[in-house]
Structure formats: C-alpha cells, structure tokens
C-alpha cells in the first residue's frame, strides 16, 4: 500500500531551508516540469496549479501549523496559548464558529467605506518623499502604509503605528527558525498586544459605534457571541497577520513593476486596473511562498501515497506561473487569468483578504501615477524565499510625475 518516496530518482528534491533556495529559479521550473510534486527536507512540495488548487481545499489536509511551537520546544506560555486557540490553527466546528462570528466585520461592502482614508494615507506618505526623487520604499511607504491601514481599521490613533509595527514584527519572530532564542521577546510582545487589545475591547463594549472593533464586539450569531478572550485573540491575529504580509507584498509589488516598466506605465494611465495589479503581483510574486498543510489521514493522490502526519507545502508562485494553467505566465494587467492562491484557500482562506486587496489596489495605481520610472537605487536586502518573503530594505529612485 505505502509507496516510499525516498530515493525515487524521477522525483525532484528541494532543500527549502537552504537560505539560497529560490522560488523563481531554473531549478524549481525544471522540477515543476519533471513532476507535480517534489520531496523536501520538510515533507512534500506541490508545484503545479491544478494539484495545488485541489489539495488546498482537500478535506484530507488540515492547516499544518498547529504544532509549530511544540516543534520548536515551546510547550506553554502566552504565545503558545494564543497560537493554539487562534483561527489560523483551529479546525472543524471550532474554526467555523469563530469564522462565522468574525466574517461580517470583514465584509467587502464595509471595507469599501475605508477607501478614501487609504487614498489619503498613500498620498500623505508619497508627499513626504516625492521631491527627493528617491526613497527607501519599505521604510517610507510599505511599512507605514500597511501598519496605518491597520490602525485605521482598528480605530486607534495613527500616530501609534510604530509601536504596532514593532510588536507585530516581534511576534513574527515566533515563525522564524530562531523562535526558541527569541521566546522572551515574543512573550513580552504578546503581553503588550493583549493589553492593547483588551483596552480596545473594553472601550468599544462600553461605547459601541459603527467601527470595525465595535462590529466584532457586537457580533452575534443565533445568540452566540465571541468571548472577551476570543475577541482579544482575533485582534492579535489581525495585527499579526495583517501587517508583515501587506508590507512585504507591497515591496514585492514594487519589485515586480520595476521588472515590468511597461506595466507600470499602463497602471499609471489606467488606475482602474489597481485590482488587477494586485492579482497579477500576487500570482507572479507572492509574499506567502507556500501554504502549509498536514495530512489528517492516510490517502492516495494521483498515485502518490501520503501518510497521515505528512507535511505538504503548496507552492504559490510556482502554481501561479505553471505553464499548464498560464500559457503566458508573465505579469499582464490586461490578461484574463485563473485565480492565484496567494491568499491560501479552502476553509483557511485568508480572512483579511478584502482589506489587503482594497488597500493595495488603491496604493499601487496612486504610486504609479506619481512616480515615473522607479528603479533600484542599490542596497536592497531581502528575506529568504522560505515561508514569507519580501524586501527588508528597498532603496529606489524615480522621477516625480505628480
């Protein structure tokens, strides 16, 4: 019954924890041509579009990160408690119940109301560096934009964004390979975010309005409500999941457009293509380079026996540029393409994607309209391609257009 995959010569092998491992490489493209999956040092990697699409929604796979703290020797504490009770790792009815209560606050109709604020914010940030003809794009735009969008959503003073950014990044260390060493810092940051979230919840409970947090506080489904702990966990998840990802994706968007200047010019002329710009960037250059799943039972897929407990990495960029699904896989804002999986998929599809889509689809055309000919100015630094990638520093130069 079991078909061992070790030492099968026609199945490619990828060392995904090698810091030089590159998603957009000849090695990966040739692996994708050779086979729909590869073996890795951490389970399987799925490389092609159809297989990623199917396995992402397979009931035989669950979200694979629940045991992450335990894998790193962390068996208790604030981060552990939060992680094991947050929507990201919950399954079945426990997950569905929380998701039903959170969903209405993330309605695309409600998010749309925030668009003028997003535009105002993007213009304010560009105003600060436009005359200089250069900027450090992460520091001067991507990070403040991503974080201040969160403060707008949460209804907290925008001036507090540096603190929120610092806390979110510190909790993010928990997903890195140095988690155990960083544990004290992570615990302190979770404690501070808890306090922040608890104060926010108390405030809205006392005086609810029409804002996002009030909607969560008032959320009610057939008499069922979110407990204070569930509300707090959800707000921390929003900060944790919404900041780094959007910052990194905006940096990657700038990289994509610098490589495709004719697409940047098109976007400058056609701001209505902002939504398409987000989809194309996320299809061809996603920050979330893989989505992790774990087999919940033994099963066979396309002749491959997958044993219960196997980790399965669904590769997003590789699937989004698979020539079988995208005969002309390059970035094209006017093309009609199948959906990408940069927001994951299935029951764990990104909860905040309407927010991310709305804020990035305002930011990108606005940048294109104001900055002509953006190009690398030297000194850029990048995260590795494993997990969540993007620029740490992205100095660019440009010509002021408006």
């Amino acid at each position: 019954m079991s078909t061992p995959t070790i030492n099968v010569p026609d199945v490619p092998y990828l060392d995904i924890s090698d810091p030089s491992f590159a998603m957009q490489s000849e090695a990966l493209r040739s692996a994708r041509e050779q086979s729909w999956y590869a073996r890795t040092n951490f389970g399987l990697a799925v490389l092609r579009y159809d297989e990623v699409s199917k396995l992402l929604k397979s009931p035989q796979l669950i979200q694979g990160s629940a045991k992450w703290p335990a894998h790193n020797g962390v068996h208790g504490g604030l981060f552990y408690d939060w992680w094991t009770k947050n929507l990201l790792v919950l399954e079945g009815e426990d997950h569905h119940r929380i998701r039903r209560l959170l969903n209405p606050a993330f309605s695309p109709r409600l998010i749309k109301e925030l668009v003028p604020r997003f535009q105002e914010l993007a213009n304010e940030l560009v105003d600060a560096f436009i005359e200089a003809g250069e900027c450090e794009f992460v520091r001067d735009f991507a990070e403040p934009y991503a974080t201040r969008v969160l403060t707008i959503l949460l209804g907290i003073p925008e001036s507090e964004w540096p603190k929120i950014a610092r806390l979110a990044s510190t909790v993010g260390l928990a997903l890195g390979v140095t988690f155990k060493q960083d544990l004290d810092k992570v615990e302190a940051a979770v404690a501070e975010l808890y306090e922040y979230a608890e104060e926010l919840i108390k405030d809205r409970q006392a005086d609810p309005g029409e804002d996002f947090v009030s909607r969560l506080v008032l959320a009610n489904r057939d008499g069922d409500r979110l407990s204070d702990e569930e509300l707090r966990n959800a707000l921390v998840l929003l900060i944790f999941g919404g900041m780094d990802t959007t910052r990194n994706q905006l940096g990657l968007a700038m990289q994509s457009f610098m490589r495709n200047p004719e697409q940047w010019e098109l976007l400058a002329r056609r701001p209505d293509l902002g939504g398409k710009a987000v989809e194309e960037v996320m299809r061809t250059n996603p920050t979330v380079t893989w989505v992790t799943r774990e087999a919940v039972e033994d099963f066979t897929y396309q002749g491959l026996f997958i044993e219960k407990g196997t980790t399965v990495h669904l590769f997003t960029q590789s699937s989004g540029t698979d020539p079988r699904a995208f005969p002309d896989p390059g970035m094209d804002l006017l093309g009609e393409h199948a959906p990408h999986y940069g927001f994951g998929g299935g029951v764990h599809h990104c909860l905040g994607h309407f927010v991310a889509r709305a804020d990035m689809s305002e930011a990108l055309p606005l940048l294109a309209r104001r900055l002509a000919d953006p190009h690398l100015a030297g000194g850029d630094e990048w995260l590795p391609d494993s997990g969540n990638t993007g620029p740490v520093r992205l100095p660019i130069a440009f010509t002021k257009r408006a």
Partner: protein, 63 residues
C-alpha cells in the same frame, strides 16, 4: 421566492459559503459545492453572509 445563482465559472470551491450558511451551501465528498436553488426568507441573513464572504464573489441572490 428567493433564488440563488452561483457563477460556476468563478466558483473555486473554497467552501466559505458552506461555513457561513451551512443550511444552504455544502461541499460534497469530492469537494465540489452543492446548494439549494431556492431559500425561505428565514435564511436570507445567512445567505447574505455567504454572498459577502465568498472570496471570488460568485454568489448572487434574486428576490
């Protein structure tokens, strides 16, 4: 009568509608969406939530 229409050319079978409105939408054993074509008024709130939450916005309601 309220009629539900799912644009199958858009539907990507994520199953978010089945979480939001389990009385109307469900995923079959193959992971493909099945749904009630018509619904009572009492289920309209659930259906509205399913429409909102659909990642590809493929669900439409005709009253």
């Amino acid at each position: 009568m309220n009629t539900i229409d799912v644009d199958r050319s858009l539907c990507d079978n994520h199953g978010q509608c089945a979480i939001a409105a389990p009385a109307v939408f469900r995923m079959n054993a193959e992971g493909i969406l099945e749904y009630e074509a018509t619904v009572e008024d009492a289920l309209l709130d659930e259906v509205e939530e399913a429409i909102d939450v659909c990642p590809v916005q493929a669900i439409f309601l005709k009253n």
